[in-house]
């Protein structure tokens, strides 16, 4: 995942640019920090806003006192349309109730030194749970600097030193009790020069918005059906396209009979679109296909149904999930590439230490965002407009430019709410399809995927086998630990990426497989935590130790450990121990449970955040599983919005449970077997437990939260299942394993 972080406080003079609207409102925009970061000295002067489109602003204060705050992120359900403006509003010192939030479009700023483009509003993509940490300094500083201007304006009017003035609820306060509202000050403040350097931020004790439960800003629009998502976008004269994609990866269209399709009322055009070349980089659309362009979705769908297409199968046409697992098992028998080696496991083995070993199986997964992929594009000779449900608008901008030759500044991208992300939108293959279709159609066109298209044409979460080995000495202390991963590389046919060694393990055994792979919520942590946290319980059993006590013992004294992946460079053991203890305490760990019940725990460090789960489950003699209690404890640093954070943890917990219980993508004869929700059964209300979320009070800068609640769910669940039933689940999803005789113990 490409994750770049703001490098701390900014001190460029033009960090904030201020202007006045025709109506006298103060408009404050933000110059992209990326420009300053890459070339701090001269880039600032070379940076200029591009394109003729009206770019939004971070803050607009109308003369009547209305405060409008721009939201820069992609709102995929992680709450950034609420939480990012909260950061600005806090330091601006306005009551949240007075704030209106407007979604900003994707914005570009041209840098001449070095040449290239950067996002005008700072990072706008959604990946790696970085929105909050990226914004923590920058957006608070943006709010504080606008407030600083308003105070300067009041100081001029009152002829009073600015440092004697205070602010409160969108007003500047004079020591003698006089007040001037921000609205009254807007016009004058808009003419002043921006703060020359960083201005001081509020102490935590002064927060009136940050840390206070704040509801989803556009909840009213959502519950009345007024909120617009990418799939709802419309442009005058736009047509709808549905694409029949080759069901074989790297396959092609051999023959099309479209006579029937063209007869469907409303169908305008039918044509084939190329797919990626076999083995080539997957940087555009995923599959060759036939596009049916029509007046509306239904006509296009009917047209697609009427197509008769013969496909050329791809090189993977014989492949299957079973064969993939056999290849992975064979890979495990080889040495593989050693990614990390500390100490000598062989020495421990030879010393006669007891060896504990287990293999865990992680299936392929799809993202299954409830809003299927879609993209509306208006492609002209010299410019383009894209409205789509995106997680990576920057990627979309680059892709459209590469495909059409249109300079990036002339590509306008509007962001609407996104009906779920989970990493799917980090790929813009559906945007590439829209471009390919639009190049053959003389009208704006919206490509809409069906659920079948979505489940069968994803960048899947990789498949893998994890082999874990531990050694125990005569005192049953852990003396060695090895983690070998035989998996389909996550970075598959990606430009400039090596197809290996980014697993959290010590040996990497890449396994051949041809289906696109990508990132899914908490990618590496989720992939690893199931194996590691399950195995810890297996080791505890072998050592005769309590699983919680063993974890705490291995974490050891409070200290910092180096961590190479995203969220590093340090891992604080006491924060991990803290969430573990809290989850254990809340679930009543160590207390008596009824027969057939069991409690299981797991904790993990994910992208800089610390989360533990504890489950109490009941397993009946017939193998029926009931989740009795489900606790989540999270330490993700200072809490910006407790209500939103609780929602992320609750949602990730249910996502993790849904995934652990029932979800997998399988391949047979070169084709994905699942086609719609009945084969990919997300949890429904009846099976979704309440989640008891506990947020630890933390004073370190926030880490973000969208992915952190996912990795520990499956291992805590299977550990609880073991405690309840003595059955050790080493393969996900759980499916019917508790019911059959095959369950390992």
């Amino acid at each position: 995942m490409s994750v770049t972080r703001g490098a701390g406080p900014l001190s460029r003079r033009d960090f904030l640019s201020v202007s006045m609207t025709a109506a006298g409102a103060l408009m404050a925009s933000f110059n992209a920090p990326g420009v300053a970061h890459t070339a701090p000295s001269r880039a600032a002067a070379a940076a200029r806003p591009v394109g003729g489109q009206p770019l939004g602003a971070f803050v607009r204060i109308e003369t009547d006192g209305r405060v409008v705050i721009g939201a820069r992120g992609c709102e995929i359900g992680q709450g950034v349309k609420t939480s990012l403006p909260m950061l600005i509003a806090e330091e601006l010192d306005v009551p949240w109730s007075a704030v209106t939030v407007e979604q900003l479009p994707y914005g570009l700023l041209a840098g001449h030194d070095p040449p290239g483009f950067t996002s005008r509003y700072g990072p706008q993509g959604a990946g790696g749970s970085t929105n909050i940490p990226d914004a923590w300094n920058d957006l608070r500083q943006a709010g504080a600097r606008v407030r600083w201007l308003l105070v300067q304006a009041a100081a001029q009017i009152w002829q009073q030193p600015a440092d004697q003035l205070r602010t409160r609820d969108a007003q500047v306060l004079h020591p003698d009790g006089r007040t001037l509202s921000y609205g009254q000050l807007a016009r004058r403040a808009a003419t002043l020069a921006a703060a020359p350097a960083d201005v001081p931020l509020k102490p935590r004790s002064g927060y009136r918005i940050i840390g206070h439960p704040t509801r989803v800003i556009d909840a009213r629009e959502i519950v009345t059906g007024a909120a617009a998502y990418g799939i709802d976008a419309a442009l005058p004269g736009a047509l709808t396209a549905v694409i029949a994609r080759c069901p074989y990866f790297d396959g092609a269209v051999a023959h099309i009979d479209d006579a029937q399709a063209r007869r469907v009322p409303g169908v305008r055009q039918v044509f084939s679109i190329p797919g990626p070349r076999a083995g080539a980089v997957l940087d555009r659309n995923l599959a060759a296909g036939v596009a049916v362009v029509a007046d509306d979705f239904w006509s296009a769908r009917q047209g697609r149904e009427a197509l008769r297409i013969t496909w050329t199968v791809g090189p993977g046409a014989q492949d299957s999930s079973d064969a993939l697992e056999r290849r992975a098992a064979a890979a495990l028998a080889t040495r593989g590439k050693i990614a990390r080696q500390d100490g000598d496991l062989e020495a421990a083995r030879k010393a006669g230490d007891r060896v504990v070993q287990a293999v865990y199986v992680m299936p392929l997964l799809a993202h299954a965002t409830l809003e299927p992929p879609n993209a509306l594009i208006d492609l002209r000779a010299q410019r383009a407009l894209l409205v789509a449900s995106l997680q990576s608008p920057g990627g979309a901008s680059r892709m459209i430019s590469a495909m059409t030759g249109i300079p990036r500044p002339d590509i306008e991208i509007r962001l609407l709410r996104v009906g779920g992300g989970f990493g799917r939108g980090l790929q813009n293959d559906f945007v590439a399809e829209a471009v390919l279709v639009a190049q053959s159609v003389k009208a704006p066109v919206k490509v809409i995927w069906t659920r079948e298209d979505d489940l069968q044409n994803d960048f899947y979460r990789p498949f893998g086998l994890h082999e874990l080995t531990a050694t125990l000495d005569a005192q049953r202390r852990v003396t060695g630990w090895a983690h070998r991963v035989a998996a389909t590389p996550r970075k598959y046919r990606a430009e400039g990426m090596e197809e290996e060694s980014d697993w959290i393990g010590c040996a990497d055994l890449p396994v051949e497989f041809s289906l696109a792979r990508g990132w899914l919520r908490g990618p590496l942590p989720t992939f690893s935590a199931f194996a590691v946290q399950s195995f810890l319980d297996e080791v505890a059993l072998a050592a005769g130790a309590d699983p919680l006590a063993l974890r705490l013992e291995l974490l050891g004294a409070p200290r910092q450990l180096p961590y190479r992946d995203h969220g590093g460079p340090k891992l604080h053991t006491e924060r991990l121990a803290g969430v573990l203890r809290r989850a254990a305490q809340e679930v009543g760990y160590g207390g008596k449970v009824p027969p057939g019940h069991g409690i299981g725990l797991a904790s993990h460090f994910t992208h800089g955040g610390y989360v533990a789960h504890a489950f109490e489950v009941a397993v009946s003699a017939a193998g029926e599983l009931e989740v009795v209690r489900c606790v989540c404890a999270a330490d993700v640093g200072e809490v910006v919005n407790p209500l939103g954070l609780e929602a992320q943890m609750m949602g990730a917990t249910i996502d993790g449970l849904s995934t652990a219980l029932n979800l997998q993508i399988t391949l047979k004869d070169g084709r994905v077997e699942q086609s719609n929700f009945p084969d990919y059964p997300l949890l429904r209300m009846a099976a979704a437990p309440d989640v008891d979320v506990h947020l630890l009070d933390s004073q370190v800068p926030p880490s973000g939260a969208g992915e952190m609640g996912m990795p520990t769910v499956a291992p805590a669940l299977v550990n609880a299942i073991f405690a309840a039933s003595g059955k050790r689940i080493r393969r996900l999803p759980l499916g019917a394993q508790l019911k059959g005789p095959t369950a390992a113990s």
Binding site: E75, I76, G77, Q78, G79, R215, V216, A219, R220, I222, V223, T224, G225, A226, A227, A228, Y229, I231, D232, T240, P265, D296, F297, W298, S299, Q302, A368, T369, L370, E371, P372, R417, V418, G419, G420, G421, F422, I448, R451, L643, A647, Q648, M650, G651, A652, T653, I654, D655, S658, N676, F677, P678, L682, L683, R684, M685, A686, A688, D690, V691
Partner: protein
């Protein structure tokens, strides 16, 4: 032949493929996009509307079946500016995450409350709408809140 019906209390008429699902009439023709497409096979509930007051999955409701009936969508659930108690409860309990499923969830819950003003756990478990974001615990809270409020109002 025209198909006549009422849509959010307005008289409407449709002449086109009678097999077209109501969902796509709403989204592409009436431009009421609050009703969402999630699966197209009646499984996810994102497309839930009311037909003569009862919940129906509009992706599986051909226009021919709408003739002479009253269709209510999420856009027509509030009484003017007065939100339906469920809509208010959804805001109060901060239910939406991505929000994509929520119109369907609310329409399904409104139908449930109309039939079972004090729904039991088992009644809530009959709601089969999917939420990919996992908002179910807050959905349950919101339905209970609205049910309590409606009961208070009836007293």
């Amino acid at each position: 032949m025209a198909i006549d019906f009422t849509l959010n209390e307005q008289r409407s008429s449709y002449r086109g493929d009678p097999a077209m699902p109501l969902l796509w009439y709403l989204r592409d023709h009436a431009r009421l996009t609050g009703t969402k497409f999630g699966c197209g096979i009646g499984y996810c509930g994102a497309c839930t509307v009311h037909l003569d007051g009862a919940a129906a999955r509009s992706c599986l409701t051909p226009m021919s079946r709408v003739a002479g009936r009253a269709v209510t969508t999420i856009e027509g659930l509030a009484r003017g500016a007065q939100l339906h108690p469920l809509q208010q409860a959804w805001i109060d309990e901060d239910v939406p995450q991505c929000g994509y499923c929520q119109a369907g969830q609310i329409m399904a819950a409104a139908d449930l409350l109309a039939r079972k003003p004090q729904p039991s756990e088992a009644d809530l478990a009959t709601l089969t709408n999917l939420c990919r974001c996992g908002t179910y615990p807050r959905i349950r809270k919101a339905i209970r809140r609205a049910a309590a409020q409606l009961q208070g109002a009836r007293r």
